[in-house]
């Protein structure tokens, strides 16, 4: 299934900045997870008439596929749109999906088949799919490139684009350009039309829908819109429409493009489009709804929070069904058990928010077979889950949910699980170096054996109850055909389905005499059965939308459990559908190495292997994003302005950036080079930063206030330096970071002469000198986030920085820092959050840390605590109050409550680790009394709300003080609750 295909590249590099040396906290309190480049690809290039293909596969057959499909796609899209591109398109081919995930150009997540981007017109695509889908994906992505060229004129034109047309104009045209409807897209379209849930146009011309859809309507409904345009206005209308889009600027500029192109408002156009769709599917209105002959079992969203049954496995006894479903409350996939009698949710098997794996593997396309399986003895349920670079097989107990076994696989995109009757072997399908085959996994040894080892695309193996016969589907041309083979000899094939359309999801009856499957001979997927003894083909349903995964239930011969797509989701049904005999076929004898129709691209080219070139060096560099222009007014009235520009090579493995900004008269510059090509990544940063601030003495010297202005008391710190930062991800959650940096500090009052005349010289914590520092950090984050912030998991960072004794006059210090957080999710968005943070700087030239305020120590002013050693701890209980609320000022929310407690202790240089607070109650005109103690902190409650994306906090805070930390339960409450407001993210 294709997902969002184009967008500006956003891979963010964690570059080392000089700020870490002074121990200040990051503004954004999260460290992020790791994207690991497991290997450094030996890139090569091959130039064709219209493409520059970047690839690394040794097997030139793959390059042949890519070249043939790419040029075929170019021919069809160019002819359709009557347009030629000016420059060759950079086409970056990754052999497997897991390799594609390592791209530094494109944001890739599970399910993405290909991506195109509008700056350099690059296309990224992987090979883990059947060849005909590869052709469709290539055509789809190339159509986007043509769209970018039509709209913005050339590579880089998008950098100056102010706006872009709605998504359906892009995705719909790309789907239309393939000239095909996948069975999945047709299913979505038909279901939506027949259930009268057709998306509509809003005022901006976007497609909007009130009902959940399995994927963005821009794809399938966009495709249908273009077919409607051709049907109503002729084939030239598409090109005319795009000419108008090009001249429209924004979709609402002066005149709506729909009005200009078709003389219809979006509303009128939408109404005509709906009529067209209803006429197109009118033959299906009279067909069955699955509830006409079966009972829904579930999941029943919103009665329960589970939405969609992606796949199911029936228990051997037939009393329970396991299904992979989406938990809307926790925003994650779960495996749940339902009763096959009444659909009652019995148990959620999989752990919530586990870090045992990243996510459960599931497929939306039913033809790929089931995503989970129940062992014949009933004691185990198996599914695949993402575990590091690839997937692992997880075998869990259906009773307890405990993981009984985990087997890591060296194969890509495993699916189609099927236990053999002995329960010791599991069949499944997967890609091995771009070829899709059936594998047998020995559950004792963990060894996987390729059973088919051919170029055919086999799917969804199903074993007979006696373990002798295997039935599976094979992609033949554009369709899937059912094939039967003896398990011991998969080269001998009997093609069972020879009629029109596809046949998928095979499964055997309990006696092994009948084969159930889903076939689309009538334009929709219905449940069929084939008697392996008589050849009688019976059709059991005549549904409007689609029925899949038929499984025989104990009981009568026609008692089946199946999955039906209805009203935008898959649900489980059970029923008795006797059906009618459709035909009787003569099942032919098996034929060894029977050839099946193979998809061929429209054009084929002769590959010239001498034109293959090794890619060396950086190549050309390109501007990859529009330089931002930042202008901010700070609270003291000064204006901050700046910009940055970034360059990278075509593969985005080498990235350069230059930034410059100024606030008041203080300028800062920075240059960074980052190498992201391997697992160990590094960045070199050269910089000069000038920052201004108001030193503590101005706060703590009231006598100064009448003699010096705010500007006089300003101090400036200028840091010039070069750093080398290294990043090595250990796994997705943990990484090592190292650094070596040279820094030159210059710090003084902005007007030292003025302050000198007042009797204040430098040395008030000012740092002047040179420092060579090495650092090492271990960072880990398993934290899972919800829209309001962290929800579960843990985060930590431990770092040590040591200045190197190069010369006597170099600054000398050692800094240790620790940050640890833990989140306990209690359910329904209630959670308990703990944090411990601390730092220690020792040596001759200690660096100062500033903290306090916000959610660190609430009873202190923001960054008012200055220390060379400190720790603080926070505990918060966070809970939901309001999900979303419509107000006069717009939508606000979520609104969450918090009850908090924090405590801190700090030490400044050689002074004792105590705090001092001026007590006006005890002070007199002649004497100022300060109260001191070991530690202080806060207690209170408040709420957080989101407005325009900003988290706003309103809290009532009471100060707590400990005279002695050795008596933690002996503390004083100081003053009354005070209201505090701050803006920032939860830790």
């Amino acid at each position: 299934m294709r997902r969002p295909r184009h967008g500006l590249p956003f891979f963010i590099l964690l570059a080392a900045l000089a700020g870490f040396a002074v121990g200040q906290m990051s503004y954004y309190p999260y460290y992020g997870k790791n994207k690991i480049n497991y290997e450094r690809f030996p890139w090569k290039t091959y130039a064709t008439d219209h493409f520059t293909v970047y690839f690394y596969a040794e097997d030139t057959r793959l390059l042949q596929y890519v070249v043939d499909t790419a040029e075929s796609a170019y021919k069809s899209v160019s002819t359709e749109l009557k347009h030629q591109l000016t420059e060759p398109v950079p086409l970056i081919f990754y052999t497997t999906f897991t390799d594609f995930e390592q791209s530094n150009i494109f944001p890739v997540s599970e399910g993405v088949l290909g991506v195109s981007e509008p700056i350099l017109f690059r296309i990224g695509i992987h090979g883990d799919m059947p060849i005909n889908e590869f052709q469709d994906t290539m055509t789809h992505e190339l159509a986007h490139i043509f769209q970018f060229d039509l709209l913005w004129g050339s590579q880089g034109g998008a950098l100056t684009a102010v706006s872009q047309p709605p998504g359906w104009t892009f995705e719909g045209l790309s789907e239309y350009a393939t000239g095909r409807w996948s069975s999945w897209s047709t299913l979505i379209l038909r279901d939506t039309v027949l259930n009268d849930r057709i998306p509509e146009f809003d005022e901006s011309g976007d497609l909007v829908t009130r009902y959940p859809l399995p994927r963005d309507p821009a794809y399938d409904f966009g495709h249908a819109i273009y077919e409607f345009i051709v049907d109503r206005y002729g084939p030239n209308a598409i090109r005319d429409f795009w000419q108008i889009l090009k001249s429209s600027g924004s979709f609402l500029a002066r005149r709506d493009p729909l009005i200009r192109a078709f003389h219809q408002t979006p509303r009128e156009f939408g109404q005509e489009f709906k009529k067209y769709l209803r006429a197109r599917f009118k033959d299906f209105f009279a067909r069955e709804n699955p509830e006409d002959y079966s009972v829904p079992l579930g999941p029943e969203f919103p009665i329960n929070p589970y939405y969609f049954a992606f796949s199911q496995a029936l228990s051997p006894s037939g009393e329970m069904v396991a299904t992979i479903t989406y938990n809307a409350l926790d925003n994650e996939m779960n495996v749940v058990l339902l009763s096959s009698k009444d659909g009652r949710i019995l148990k959620t098997i999989t752990k919530r928010y586990t870090s045992d794996y990243e996510y459960i593997k599931y497929e939306i396309d039913p033809s790929l077979g089931p995503s989970l399986a129940w062992s014949p003895d009933g004691d185990r349920i198996a599914f695949f889950a993402r575990d590091g670079r690839r997937h692992s097989l997880f075998i869990v107990s259906p009773l307890t949910g405990e993981t009984m076994k985990k087997i890591a696989l060296a194969l890509d995109q495993p699916t189609g699980l099927c236990f053999l009757p002995d329960g010791r072997t599991l069949l499944f399908t997967a890609f091995e170096k771009g070829i899709h085959d059936i594998f047998a996994l020995d559950l004792e040894t963990g060894a996987a054996r390729n059973l088919t080892n051919d170029e055919a695309f086999e799917k969804a193996p199903a074993i007979s109850p006696d373990g002798k016969i295997l039935v599976y589907s094979v992609r033949a041309g554009q369709d899937d055909k059912l094939v039967l083979s003896p398990l011991t000899d998969l080269k001998t094939r009997t093609v069972l389905s020879t009629g029109p359309g596809s046949a998928v999801c095979p499964s055997f009856s309990r006696d092994g005499r009948t084969l159930f499957y889903a076939g689309d001979a009538r334009g929709t997927y219905n449940i069929y059965s084939l008697s392996l003894e008589t050849g009688e083909v019976r059709r059991h349903t005549d549904v409007r939308t689609g029925n899949f995964f038929p499984t025989a239930l104990p009981g009568g011969p026609n008692d089946i459990l199946f999955s039906s797509f209805n009203k935008g989701s898959f649900q489980l049904f059970k029923g008795q559908a006797a059906g009618a005999v459709e035909t009787t076929i003569a099942i032919p004898a098996g034929e060894r190495d029977k050839p099946l129709e193979k998809f061929k691209p429209a054009l084929t080219f002769e590959l010239h292997k001498d034109k293959i070139e090794e890619r060396k060096g950086l190549g050309k560099l390109y501007v990859t994003a529009r330089p931002p222009v930042d202008a901010i007014i700070s609270t003291d009235g000064s204006i901050y302005g700046g910009s940055a520009i970034g360059f990278s090579d075509v593969l985005a493995n080498h990235q350069f950036s230059v930034l410059a900004y100024q606030v008041r008269e203080f300028r800062s510059y920075g240059f960074t080079y980052a190498n992201l090509s391997g697992r160990l990544q590094y960045a070199i940063n050269a910089f000069q930063y000038a920052i201004y601030y108001y030193p503590d003495l101005y706060y703590y010297e009231p006598s100064l206030w009448s003699r010096a202005t705010y500007n006089d008391a300003m101090a400036v710190r200028k840091i010039t330096g070069v750093t080398l930062a290294l990043f090595y991800p250990l796994d997705r959650y943990m990484r090592l970071e190292g650094g070596l940096g040279f820094y030159s500090y210059e710090e003084d009052f902005n007007d030292p002469y003025s302050m000198s005349s007042l009797g204040y010289q430098g040395g008030y914590g000012f740092i002047n000198g040179t420092m060579l520092m090495a650092s090492l950090s271990l960072t880990g984050e398993t934290t899972r986030f919800k829209p309001y912030g962290p929800a579960t998991g843990s985060t930590f960072r431990l770092s040590v920085s040591q200045s190197l004794p190069v010369a006597q006059n170099f600054l000398s210090n050692t800094t240790l820092e620790a940050d640890a957080r833990k989140y306990f999710y209690l359910g329904s968005d209630f959670l308990f959050a703990l944090r411990f943070q601390g730092a220690l700087c020792a040596g001759r030239d200690k660096l100062l840390s500033y903290y306090g305020g916000n959610n660190q120590v609430r009873s202190a002013y923001f960054y008012s605590i200055v220390a060379t050693e400190y720790w603080f701890a926070d505990a918060e209980f966070r809970f939901p109050l309001i999900g979303l609320a419509q107000t006069l000022i717009g939508t606000i929310g979520p609104i969450r409550g918090v009850v908090f407690f924090d405590i801190t202790r700090s030490k400044y240089g050689d002074f004792p680790a105590r705090f001092y607070r001026y007590d006006p109650a005890l002070s007199t005109a002649d004497s100022t009394v300060y109260v001191s103690g070991d530690a202080f902190g806060s207690f209170g409650a408040g709420f957080e709300m989101f407005l325009f994306g900003l988290p706003l906090h309103f809290e009532w805070v009471k100060r707590l003080e400990w005279t002695s930390i050795a008596k933690p339960f002996s503390f004083s409450r100081i003053g009354s609750y005070g209201l505090k407001f701050w803006i920032g993210f939860d830790f």
């Binding site: 109503r232 002729g234 003389h263």
Partner: protein
């Protein structure tokens, strides 16, 4: 009195400035006058265009007929078909008997005419600074290349029964393409896209979107 007069004048001016005669901008579709009401065309026969100098590498006539077929089919309730003719010469366009003979008494209208398509590759020298540049960087090319296309067509509609022309008009469009890979076929498509707007407007009186201002009291 003078102060009162001045005050009255200020009040009067203020009322005048505040009175509402603000113009409201509306977008309207202004219909044009149709040379031929499209409902009267039962059958439109696309007979092709005569070319004095046909292009060698590309069949302009076939491209024009294909384009107009796709354009007129959705717009006319009657049938639209391609009906290529063998041109005895340029004079055939004005020969009523020629068209009556081909029409064979059918209640139909021929769409035909003359076409001239020119394609050239043009190069231009840039300013001399590009040529004189001397330094470590590769200088940019001193010339630029464009592809130039021109399409001139005379569209004639002829009544098949009488052989009389009922509509005749000339159109010409040019295209300068920076993309030197632009093909003649695609250029004809782009040029016809512009000609089509004018043709349909003059033929069928297609609406034109225009902005008008309403004064509202």
């Amino acid at each position: 009195m003078r102060r009162n007069s001045a005050l009255l004048a200020v009040i009067a001016l203020g009322l005048a400035f505040c009175s509402g005669r603000a113009p409201v901008k509306v977008s309207v579709e202004i219909p044009g006058s149709a040379a031929i009401p499209r409902d009267t065309i039962q059958t439109l026969l696309l007979a092709g265009f005569y070319q004095e100098k046909p292009a060698q590498d590309f069949d302009v006539d076939a491209a024009l007929v294909r384009y107009l077929l796709d354009e007129f089919k959705p717009k006319i309730k009657g049938t639209v078909e391609a009906a290529p003719v063998s041109w005895p010469g340029p004079q055939a366009l004005s020969d009523k008997e020629f068209w009556k003979k081909i029409g064979a008494g059918r209640k139909a209208t021929f769409l035909t005419g003359k076409a001239e398509f020119v394609q050239e590759t043009r190069k231009a020298l840039l300013d001399s600074g590009a040529r004189d540049f001397d330094g470590p960087f590769k200088p940019r090319d001193p010339w630029t290349v464009r592809k130039f296309f021109s399409l001139q067509i005379e569209v004639v509609l002829i009544d098949a029964r009488t052989g009389e022309p009922v509509f005749r008009r000339n159109f010409q469009e040019t295209l300068n393409a920076e993309n030197i890979k632009q093909t003649a076929e695609f250029a004809v498509f782009d040029l016809m896209g512009r000609i089509k707007i004018k043709l349909l407007r003059s033929l069928f009186g297609s609406e034109r979107p225009l902005d008008r201002y309403l004064l509202i009291k």
